[in-house]
């Protein structure tokens, strides 16, 4: 299957007090056409930074290197004007907080129309009709009225639908969704996830779904990449990851969440805390919290190793023996 997006050796450095610290460190992943890839991890693991780096939306004080290949081009190397054409048109994005991502003083229709005008040259009646059609498609009742509403007149769930309508306005190839349902209630989350699944199927849109919720990943994604402290520690097909996790962090994460089914047993937490950017441990970044840490883990950062076709793990436990020495 063709790759829509191919990220190779992406690295993002943040400047703090005159020094650079790698917030995202040498990550590789790709997204196939029509596929939903889950990027999971805890806060501060670099998953949102990754998405912003792909969109080239990181501000000053950051250094991005590596390659982000889209449609035969490296997005990190093309001119700004070309990147602007790609944003919103080929790749669009939705965020966690639908209140702050919408302009509070513009009508919903105007905000959808803006994208339609910028990328498809639609204006006036045509844009308005297209906007109404989009609102209907994302399941907003009374779309003809809502198109003239302001964001504050809508609920959180409705606002997220509007965000999705704006993101889908130009029929993008890739939708980056950064914690799209975290701010929403479960029953509303179910609606939004359902909507995203339907849009992806009907339009063949690929989705990069960034989330901390393993449940959302299990329901939405075909493949998963697990991030920890700026690195992808494990990636593979969703069943593989959930049924045969290989990295101690993935295993720990799956064991530490309370279940909705089965007996209620004591949880097995991962000890310790997520390291901060300034105090990254040497060697494997998970080593200080890892129950299986060996000497080599504390000395040297492991490379990703393939354990099954399409299933990579970044862990010394799985490294070929000669490398481990």
């Amino acid at each position: 299957m063709a790759k829509v997006l191919d990220v190779r050796g992406l690295r993002v450095d943040f400047r703090i007090d005159e020094r650079y610290y790698p917030a995202v460190h040498d990550i590789h992943f790709h997204i196939d056409e029509g596929e939903t890839l889950g990027l999971v991890g805890e806060s501060g693991c670099g998953k949102s930074v990754t998405s912003l780096a792909i969109m080239r939306l990181l501000g000053p004080g950051t250094k991005v290197s590596g390659e982000v290949r889209y449609g035969g081009k490296n997005l990190l190397a093309i001119p700004d004007a070309e990147m602007r054409r790609i944003r919103g048109n080929d790749i669009s994005m939705i965020f966690q907080e639908p209140m702050t991502s919408l302009n509070p003083v513009q009508r919903i229709g105007t905000q959808i129309g803006e994208s339609l005008f910028l990328h498809r040259g639609l204006t006036g009646r045509a844009a308005r009709e297209q906007a109404i059609q989009l609102l209907q498609e994302v399941g907003i009742p009374r779309a003809e009225e809502v198109v003239d509403d302001y964001p504050h007149q809508l609920s959180g769930g409705m606002r997220q639908r509007v965000m999705i309508a704006i993101a889908m306005a130009c029929n993008p190839k890739l939708l980056i969704a950064d914690e799209p349902t975290t701010a929403l209630d479960v029953t509303i989350q179910a609606q939004i996830l359902d909507l995203m699944r339907r849009l992806s199927r009907d339009h063949g849109t690929s989705i990069l779904l960034i989330t901390h919720d393993l449940g959302v990943v299990a329901e939405m994604c075909q493949r998963v990449a697990v991030m920890y402290a700026g690195q992808i520690v494990e990636q593979g097909p969703v069943r593989e990851i959930f049924k045969h996790p290989q990295h101690p962090y993935t295993i720990g994460l799956l064991n530490s969440i309370p279940r909705m089914d089965g007996p209620r047993t004591r949880l097995t937490p991962i000890e310790g805390n997520v390291p901060s950017l300034r105090n990254m441990p040497r060697g494997c970044r998970f080593a200080p919290r890892c129950p299986h840490a060996m000497d080599v883990c504390r000395a040297q950062d492991p490379e990703p190793v393939m354990v099954e076709p399409g299933h990579d793990v970044r862990c010394w436990l799985h490294a070929p023996v000669k490398e481990a020495r």
Binding site: E42, S43, P141, S155, G157, M158, D185, V186, T187, I188, Q189, A190, Q191, L193, D194, H212, D213, L214, G215, V216, V217, A218, E219, V238, R239, F242, K243, G252, L253, L254, S256, I257, P258, R259, M260, D261, R264, R266, L267, T268, P269, I270, E271, N273, V274
Partner: protein, 321 residues
């Protein structure tokens, strides 16, 4: 069974909506609208619901951190809502609260040691040396280095701060602790540490918990019984095991089915509710859930369903039963 530790009767909290230059009251937000339940000694009562269901307001009204509009809160033979001044402050020693946001709930200007010592100072307990000793002991008990007493909140991670918040709730040796979304702001891997800690402390100190949360899997894990709220009203109350296996209220069913399960093979029937939670300023007539209920009948639109024990220890407010 013996007398319950806490008995809440018909608790209500209405927030006035004020408009205009004269700030006239034009209506009320019925955040908590007639909630009654009992909490047995040593049990954990989970309270779940979506945003706007009033679970947090309810918890704070019980402690009178928010002044309730009406109702009774019986604790150890006294109606808390009738107490005032020093007798109220005295009662507060018995019931403590742990807040959701571990960043906002610790005073940034106080050292951890002082934060933990202050409740004892306020109630004039122990000698200074004894207080310091207790602080160190408590820190150790919640899994922190006793030397952290000298440090300030900004030096700690969210999980560590929440441990400090829990230690503060324990200082006065309360009988009841209200936990208001205590793990919602924490990372998944840290959540489980705190949940385990809460369970250990409950055993060690014979604590009774009211655990308020929106995360159903967390509530299921920790609770003995679960109360489901919707729009400030009680929808269902049952033992945790029973509620998850045999939910009766259509809202509980939808809520349970909506939770994503971390198992790609799980095949479950999902009930997707239409629309949003109505505004508590203008709740629907009849059953508050009828606007979204997939099985609503005519009677639901006109009559408020009664709170009934339809099976032993299983209460529900729904016209279906």
């Amino acid at each position: 069974m013996a007398e319950p530790l806490l008995r809440v009767k018909d608790l209500k909290k209405y927030f006035p909506i004020r408009r205009g230059v004269l700030q006239r009251t034009v209506g009320y937000v019925r955040a908590v609208d007639g909630v009654s339940f009992e909490v047995e000694r040593g049990e954990t009562l989970g309270v779940v619901g979506e945003s706007g269901c009033g679970k947090s307001t309810m918890a704070r009204s019980i402690l009178r951190l928010i002044e309730p509009t009406a109702g009774e809160v019986w604790f150890e033979g006294e109606n808390l809502l009738r107490l005032s001044g020093s007798s109220l402050r005295h009662m507060r020693r018995q019931m403590q609260i742990v807040f959701q946001d571990p960043y906002a709930s610790l005073n940034p200007r106080y050292s951890i040691g002082y934060t933990l010592e202050e409740p004892m100072i306020v109630h004039r307990l122990h000698t200074p040396a004894e207080r310091k000793r207790r602080v160190r002991w408590l820190l150790e008990r919640v899994g922190l280095d006793p030397d952290y007493a000298k440090r300030y909140p900004h030096e700690f991670s969210g999980g560590q701060r929440q441990r400090i918040g829990i230690a503060r709730a324990l200082v006065l040796q309360p009988k009841l602790i209200l936990l208001d979304e205590p793990v919602a702001a924490l990372d998944v891997s840290v959540q489980s540490q705190v949940l385990n800690l809460l369970e250990d402390l409950q055993d060690e100190f014979d604590l009774t918990y009211i655990f308020v949360a929106h995360d159903l899997s967390v509530v299921r894990h920790i609770s003995d019984r679960i109360l489901v709220l919707y729009l400030g009203r009680m929808a269902e109350l049952a033992d945790a095991e029973v509620l998850f296996v045999d939910p009766l209220h259509p809202y509980t069913r939808a809520l349970l089915s909506a939770v994503p399960v971390p198992d790609p093979d799980a095949k479950r029937e999902r009930i997707i509710l239409r629309g949003d939670v109505p505004s508590p300023a203008n709740p629907p007539h009849g059953c508050p859930f009828h606007t979204r209920c997939p099985v609503a009948m005519d009677v639901c639109r006109s009559e408020v369903p009664a709170w009934r024990e339809v099976k032993p220890r299983h209460y529900v407010a729904c016209h279906l039963y």
